[in-house]
Symmetry: D2
Subunit: 429 residues, 4 copies
């Protein structure tokens, strides 16, 4: 947190090399002190811009007064622009998990059938919510190294002649693996098989970091959170909702209160909320969207792709594998990297944290210890990426993970633009 | 927000008297510009201390890293001290409404019978959640001018020989009326009639502003929020939970996920949370509890009582009535004031906001237009109170609400301590 | 500082009435804990708006880069608008005292004769600088209860046939007494007697709080600081300089370096400074002037006059005297109040600080212990003033200073606008 | 500033490769938008820690009240610990340039003889101040690639049998060249030749980044500023003063006021200052020294040396020369790098700024265009350094400056600790 870490109340001494450390603090584990900025390179929460933190650092308003209404209208309109929708966006004081639950309880009742895709841990967690609300989940398995199996989705939908499947749920950017599932392709296959199921998309770590078109792609329910591409601290969850989804919700007798879309939407018409909103996070949201729009959303997406390409160039030189095994599915927001068998990704992460004050993402669930994840999402730039990749490369060395050096040079080649035409094409494609 | 208000994009000119206003801006409504600090005197969200805002204005942490765990353990322990409990406290990224819902869905299943008390609008809203989750609510009516009807609660419990009533729910500090219901008295009557119902208490605007003893008073579920006596922006909800309530929850088959206590408690053992917590609000929470403890919780309670007494002294001189009609039930956190028949409390509030840049609380539901509410809760002191009361007194005059002047002098008499023995006694009582 | 005061390392307990205090902390002086905001009602440093503090709370820039130049040009132009001049404004990283010294060393050499006026302590201090730089000061005495003696200035200038007097120096708003000297009247008398002396004005606590026209009033050197009407923390000093003063400076062989106007002006042409500027204070300056202009400078002046009038109405009811004995010379920025003989103004100030956490200005030099000063300058509004005046009135009572109660009511009458026509006229006059 | 740069009022679009830029904005210079944090890698002002900025972002105090005195005593004691002195430290609201002037005007009168050493631009500027105050400067020339010529100093002192030389002035860390002059060696030679001249040291960019011992090294006057190793924004200047220097100052009839040590020291005894101090910068100073001490001053020095070694390792691989030609004199705080003949260091800096949003230091005076300077001073760490060096290496490529790639790898080798024993030895030596 920009300061010196303490263990208990006593400040700890810190030295810079193994040799000095041993001498200085015999018998004690060396400990990292924060000099300079922590590198928060997990795939979310992401680095929050100073402008956003300062916007939040303001007195709270009367959430029923006229000045609040200006704020309320502003953030609702801003989020419509970010989701690329003319439809309502619901903002919850909650984590992204809450927005998942909201998506579920508004449109489903116990026993409803949904088609979900096991693309990774976040898909598993979302499915867990469906289970808790007693939905009948058809879960398409996966090897956690690809996006959702589109052919299998299409097959199952085609087979569902009675249209028992109420919704297809996919994770746009599976944060545990770094694999992207293109929502537009799911829309296309739904249309091909003429299935009326809702299309529900978790774009928690996608929104604000990669192309997303709620309306143009025919999404019915989009789920997002504040702490990823939106560059805010955690604490806000979002649902963008199509007319069709709203109609389904209206007809849904399932129990709900906090997450109920209808009530929020009716209050939103006056720029306010049914219960006390997280006002200071809304201040931050207004500023964050302003920043995204000053840069230009398309430029934001391009930036993320470019940093992802540079990261993969480094990984390739290191001789490591990305968890994502499909070249077309690499996430612009994060890169999940496999460590060779016999090595522990979490031991490596610990080395990086202790030596270089950088947080990397852990492997989750079935890839625990097998992968580490590099977040290059949110408020980020070339030199922050280079610091990040240098930290990874030095960490691989210190943790004695077999690799070739020079990944950072390959990343620099990408950033310098030598491969730029290629990238630009990839971006356009 | 500490700055100049704008209408659209154009800064608006501001003058200081009706006469000058008309001259300066013919045909246009005058508008308040923020010079100096806004007076946020609604009964929550309350004024957030600079120390708390600055603590929140820090980079977000890896919520799975070791430094976060220190924060997690710190805020969990801090909240136990504030609730006065050795039992678990659950912290949700949510509004207080979410914490209400959490209290309900963890212990109840549809059809469960609960005894609730209509002390005012917040009791009505909480009951609304119970309805949505299909509980069987026995709602004891009230005139919105007293705390809960303890005799009636006791009568109904005594009559419930089969112990069908699963819980008694009371609002500790009814923010819509300024009437307090003493939870300890409810505990005593439960014990008298030997009824096993859970005691559930909404202390959203009570915690941190008036005496509260989760363990000593035998509360089973306490519900609180961040934006009142805890002096934080909105965005955190709390449940403190007795062993008995935990056992009930464990046995409860009702559906829940986001609000599920068990999962949160199991993660909390490692200082972490099942889903991404609202980290920056937790920074603020740590600092806010530190401030409460530097002052001393007992001193905090005394301070609120004293400001409440001073406010009532002013109201009495003005010749107005408090909404709370029971002298023993006056809230230390807010004072709800009735305007004479034929006058509109909201028109008065508008005059105060436009002339003096102060937000007062509106009358809710059946007292809409009939009362205004003065918040004297949270980060507050004598001179802020005097500014507040002067604004009310001047506003009464400008809004032509019949009253006697000099309320501010009566309040000053209390603050100067002339009535101090009396107050001190009242505080002890 | 928005938090709890500590004595040494141990947090101190705080109670609210003398009785409780004695009981709680036998044998110990009670101590104020900050709950709520401190009332900083000295006549500078003044309350800094959140917007300004947040603007300063940003990473420092390269002071030689293109982005800095934008800032540099912006603040230089902004200060020209605030001084109402087309001439250069020099910004020093210094206190106002530094800006005094700068004004002296640029235009004078040892032995130069200057005419100064002893309006109060700040005039005395400025004269002290002149002495240290070995100027030949002709100091017109005063009773510290009026502005400068204009007739005497005119007389001495008229008598100076050889034009030995190089400059007349006056303090626009004498912060130690609350008496204003109108610079335009000094210009007029200089013109009447056709004396070529420079007109140098200390408007440290005048600029941004009362009418000031560097060009239109024919001022040669204006001296200001950041921590008064400009609503910034201390750390910036300003000189606005006429063409004539620049020419005098160019011809002046006196030694100077840090304060040298010419060098600053030549760097300013590129938006930069000869040495590292106080960048973060410049961020704040840009925002502060933006706020002044959103409100409108004329409105800012009116607001100060109105608060001054309300304060004097209170003082009159209390039966106390203002230090300023000339009704036409009352400062809009502060009111200096005399305590009756036999009473100690500093003992009173201590009572106010300890009981109500409000800082009032002390009496300086020959009025030490005889006056206290109420600042109503800068980022301020009606209810902050009422809190301030209530604190004074309660403090008078606690400190047993003879007075009539009800001053606050008189102030409220002014603020409610009953006397508004009168005030408006007074303002225009 | 953590946000998007604007040209005038219109946000500018930003693309990531030359190709895209040309397409997107034909005929217009591409412009950098701030995504992620700006890299402020000039050798001061340096990166300010969030903790320090937040500490400054607090309401200003009454500088004559008891709470201020606590702050005053705290920062005065803190600065004594940082300077390693029991003697007074004077804190000025000024730039470092002001602290230079203060050092001069307190001990010298016009005509006094001083021995100064032309180690680079900052030595030249300091000498310029001496000239302006009409001192008789004996200026030992240099090639700007070494520290001060100690042999020559000794020779001239030895030759000064009448002890006309009142002081020897050296720049500890010459920020324009990256060459260090060891003050202790100057002390030793003064002692060797038994010359009573004062030893005056500019350690503006040395203090807080490299070993410094005001007392133990026998320094008479140390000059420092806030915006370098002290990790603060600019706006504070410091003098640490020996008893001998104080005695000289007391006897010195030279004119001074703002900079007068005696007056400041006498006020400091009460924890206060003769004129309004830059209070909010003092808040920051208290926090900054706390951070330095949490890390441990010795660890801070080691960290700077290590980053300097890593930077030089990169420079060596690039095949470039450091401006400092003496291996024993390399600055731990910055590295000044020469570009090959025929290349323009400022054009290179512009490429780096526009492409990678990093500010590097310009070449000053006679090395204008010939060197660029990399600051690795203040609040900094390994990964920030790697981002910095990657930015330099990519910039060299884009600016077509002949170099070998792979400097970043060499730096990583140092940071990983392979050369650590060597470094540790070098550090001790």
């Amino acid at each position: 947190m920009g300061g010196a870490l303490r263990r208990g109340d006593k400040p700890v001494k810190w030295c810079y090399s193994a040799a000095i450390k041993i001498k200085a603090r015999p018998g004690r584990t060396p400990m990292t002190v924060h000099t300079g900025r922590h590198f928060l390179q997990i795939p979310g929460p992401t680095n929050v811009p100073d402008r956003v933190l300062r916007a939040m650092d303001m007195p709270t308003l009367d959430h029923r007064g006229p000045e609040f209404a200006e704020l309320g209208f502003a953030v609702l309109a801003a989020m419509q622009r970010v989701f690329r929708t003319k439809q309502p966006v619901i903002i919850f004081p909650s984590s992204g998990t809450g927005a998942w639950e909201a998506a579920m309880v508004n449109v489903f009742s116990p026993g409803d059938k949904v088609l979900m895709c096991e693309t990774g841990q976040f898909a598993v967690l979302w499915r867990g919510i469906a289970d808790k609300f007693k939905l009948d989940v058809d879960f398409i398995p996966s090897d956690w190294r690809h996006g959702a199996d589109l052919a299998e989705i299409e097959k199952r939908l085609a087979a569902d002649k009675q249209h028992m499947i109420k919704a297809v749920c996919v994770v746009h950017n599976e944060t545990s693996t770094g694999c992207v599932t293109p929502p537009l392709e799911v829309r296309k296959l739904l249309d091909r098989v003429k299935h009326p199921a809702l299309l529900m998309v978790d774009t928690i770590s996608g929104l604000g970091s990669m192309e997303y078109e709620h309306d143009a792609w025919g999404i019915d329910v989009s789920v997002a959170g504040s702490q990823k591409g939106l560059m805010l601290p955690p604490g806000l969850g979002f649902n963008a909702v199509s007319e069709k989804a709203l109609a389904v919700a209206k007809a849904n007798p399932g129990m709900r209160s906090y997450w109920d879309w209808q009530e929020v939407i009716s209050f939103n018409k006056l720029g306010t909320f049914p219960y006390t909103p997280a006002t200071n996070l809304l201040y931050g949201l207004r500023e964050a969207v302003k920043m995204l729009e000053e840069e230009g959303l398309e430029n934001v997406w391009t930036r993320h792709k470019r940093h992802s390409a540079a990261t993969r160039a480094a990984v390739k030189v290191w001789g490591l594998e990305t968890q994502c095994a499909d070249p077309a599915a690499h996430s612009p927001a994060l890169t999940s990297v496999r460590v060779p068998d016999g090595h522990d990704a979490d031991a490596f992460r610990k080395v990086v944290l202790e030596n270089f004050d950088m947080s990397l993402g852990t492997g989750l669930n079935k890839v625990k210890g097998k992968v580490f994840r590099i977040g290059h999402i949110g408020h980020f730039n070339d030199l922050m990426l280079m610091g990040t990749l240098a930290g990874v490369e030095m960490g691989l060395d210190l943790a004695k993970i077999p690799h070739r050096s020079g990944g950072v040079l390959a990343a620099m080649d990408v950033l310098k633009g030598r491969d730029v035409v290629l990238i630009a094409k990839a971006q356009v494609a």
